[in-house]
């Protein structure tokens, strides 16, 4: 271990003879260059960190003799440029960490890393991910590249990555088309927000059979395809788009879908059968659309429903329609009255009628005794289970959070009917 020193140069013969050396720590030093010559004598090296130095460039063939290297950490340096053959020779590399550097361009030198599984280049200055960017890295499982000013992403950049689970792209404003993800069949989480996507391809779900989370907020999508083939979809985020209609087949047969966010769109019509097959749906956000009515079929399992910002939706919402409701946001206060917000909805246990008792004025010891009046004078020794029984009677009924809650100037009776 040579980490956390002030090493600025590693002489050529420093590691000569160390034919069995496997792990090298050179992080947190003052190196300004890759010690290419010194690294030429380490055939057994498997893991190396050069993180937290001042390295600014990776020359061609910098690691050419490190054929056993599996892990290479270069994070927190000043790397701005990378030779096209900078990583040649690293035949067994699985993990490459280039995070927190100053790279201006996509590190194309990774094309020779056929066994790469984990790649990080987040927090750099990269503006584009080119076509076929990862064509040489079919085993990639994770790619972290957030906190880059990425504007452009090649249509084919993320193709043929059969082990990739997560893909997050935020703020790439030049993206107009949904990426072609042919061959990236294990993708479970796809986040593509704040871009300029207008249209979702019809065959999108056929390419992504394992998709669980699809987050497409802040795009310009107007028309939705059927997500029918996204059979494992659990969360769908489409807020802040231009969607105007939900058809009968849009969400058909998505039996795992738990949450849909369609807020901040222009939805005027939802087909009466749009939600019928969504047996797992618990959260539906339709805030700020142009709805006139809400089809109730299939929404019986909702725990969260948001409808504020749809002034034309004035029908009352009965408790029978939403037996499991916990958080409800509606256009008008009187629509909350069905949920008991007008009077105290739950009863306190008699032991604890704490109407206006402010905690500061009380002595905790007294407060405790009040809880267990029968034990005023002695030191009791109750096991948790016994305590549990005592407390059961004071169990409070869960409350429904309904807003806007009625009040003196937002009465329960619709005065104009």
């Amino acid at each position: 271990r040579l980490d956390a020193n002030l090493i600025s140069v590693v002489p050529e013969k420093s590691f000569e003879g160390l034919l069995s050396l496997r792990h090298l720590w050179l992080d947190d030093n003052a190196l300004t260059e890759i010690p290419v010559q010194a690294l030429n004598h380490l055939p057994a090296l498997q893991a190396m960190t050069l993180a937290l130095n001042q390295i600014w460039h990776i020359p061609d063939f910098a690691f050419q003799n490190l054929s056993s290297l599996v892990v290479l950490h270069l994070h927190n340096n000043r790397i701005q440029s990378l030779g096209a053959n900078g990583f040649d020779g690293l035949h067994n590399l699985e993990t490459l960490d280039l995070n927190y550097n100053e790279l201006l361009e996509f590190p194309g030198a990774i094309k020779t890393l056929g066994r790469l599984q984990e790649l990080g280049f987040h927090s750099n200055n990269i503006k584009a991910i080119p076509e076929n960017a990862f064509v040489g890295n079919p085993l990639l499982q994770t790619i972290h590249f957030y906190d880059n000013p990425i504007q452009f992403v090649g249509q084919s950049a993320f193709q043929y990555l059969p082990k990739l689970h997560t893909l997050s792209l935020n703020g790439a404003t030049d993206i107009r088309e949904f990426p072609d993800l042919k061959g990236t069949t294990s993708l479970e989480v796809l986040t593509l927000t704040h871009a300029g996507i207008l249209l979702l391809p019809r065959g999108m779900c056929q390419q992504l059979p394992s998709l669980r989370v699809l987050e497409l907020s802040h795009n310009q999508i107007e028309d939705l395809p059927s997500f029918h083939w996204c059979q494992r979809l659990e969360e769908l985020g489409l807020q802040h788009n231009r969607i105007h209609e939900i058809r009968a087949d849009t969400f058909v047969q998505l039996i795992a879908l738990r949450s849909i966010d369609l807020s901040w769109n222009s939805i005027r019509f939802i087909h009466p059968e749009a939600f019928v097959t969504l047996h797992s749906l618990t959260k539906l956000d339709l805030t700020d659309n142009q709805l006139v009515t809400l089809p109730l079929d299939g929404l019986g399992g909702l725990t969260h429903l948001k409808l504020q910002g749809n002034p034309a939706v004035s029908e009352p919402l009965t408790k029978e329609s939403f037996p499991k409701m916990r958080v409800l946001e509606v256009p008008y206060a009187y629509q909350c009255c069905a949920y008991g917000s007008c009077s105290s909805f739950f009863k306190m246990s008699s032991q604890w009628e704490a109407e206006d008792m402010s905690p500061e004025e009380e002595d905790p010891h007294k407060r405790t005794m009040e809880l267990f009046p029968g034990h005023a004078d002695n030191q009791y020794d109750l096991d948790t289970d016994d305590l549990q029984l005592d407390l059961e009677e004071s169990k409070l009924h869960p409350t429904v959070q309904c807003t806007p809650s009625p009040g003196p100037f937002k009465p329960c009776d619709n005065l104009f009917e």
Binding site: A4, H23, D28, A47, A51, L52, V70, V71, N76
Partner: protein, 115 residues
């Protein structure tokens, strides 16, 4: 001095408080989280304890846990010594060596078959 901060911080802490222990470490030291019953406090060590690996960052050096089958590791995904019952091969802990390699019960590693 903030009433909540003990006068002298323990060991290698640069800053600390009664409830949370160390909040930051002196240079070069590693920050580790220690749990005893309900309590969890920060401590500062010159190297990470067994079963943990260290990663240096500009603002803090941190220890994190190796995988369950690994005793010592370089990163979470690269083990350097496996727990008993596992063989080490290229940073991974295997119950059985891959084809073409043989299990060395002395070093507990998978090695090339010597003909």
């Amino acid at each position: 001095v903030h009433p909540n901060v003990s006068q002298g911080c323990q060991g290698g802490c640069a800053t600390c408080s009664d409830y949370n222990g160390c909040l930051s470490c002196k240079p070069r030291l590693f920050f580790v989280l220690e749990r005893t019953g309900m309590k969890q406090i920060g401590v500062c060590l010159s190297s990470c304890p067994s079963g943990y690996y260290g990663t240096r960052y500009p603002d803090i050096n941190k220890c994190a846990k190796c995988k369950a089958d690994c005793d010592t590791c370089f990163t979470r995904n690269f083990c350097t010594k496996c727990k008993s019952g596992f063989y080490l091969y290229s940073g991974k802990c295997l119950e059985k060596c891959p084809d073409g390699l043989e299990a060395n019960n002395h070093t507990m590693e998978c090695t090339s078959i010597v003909h």
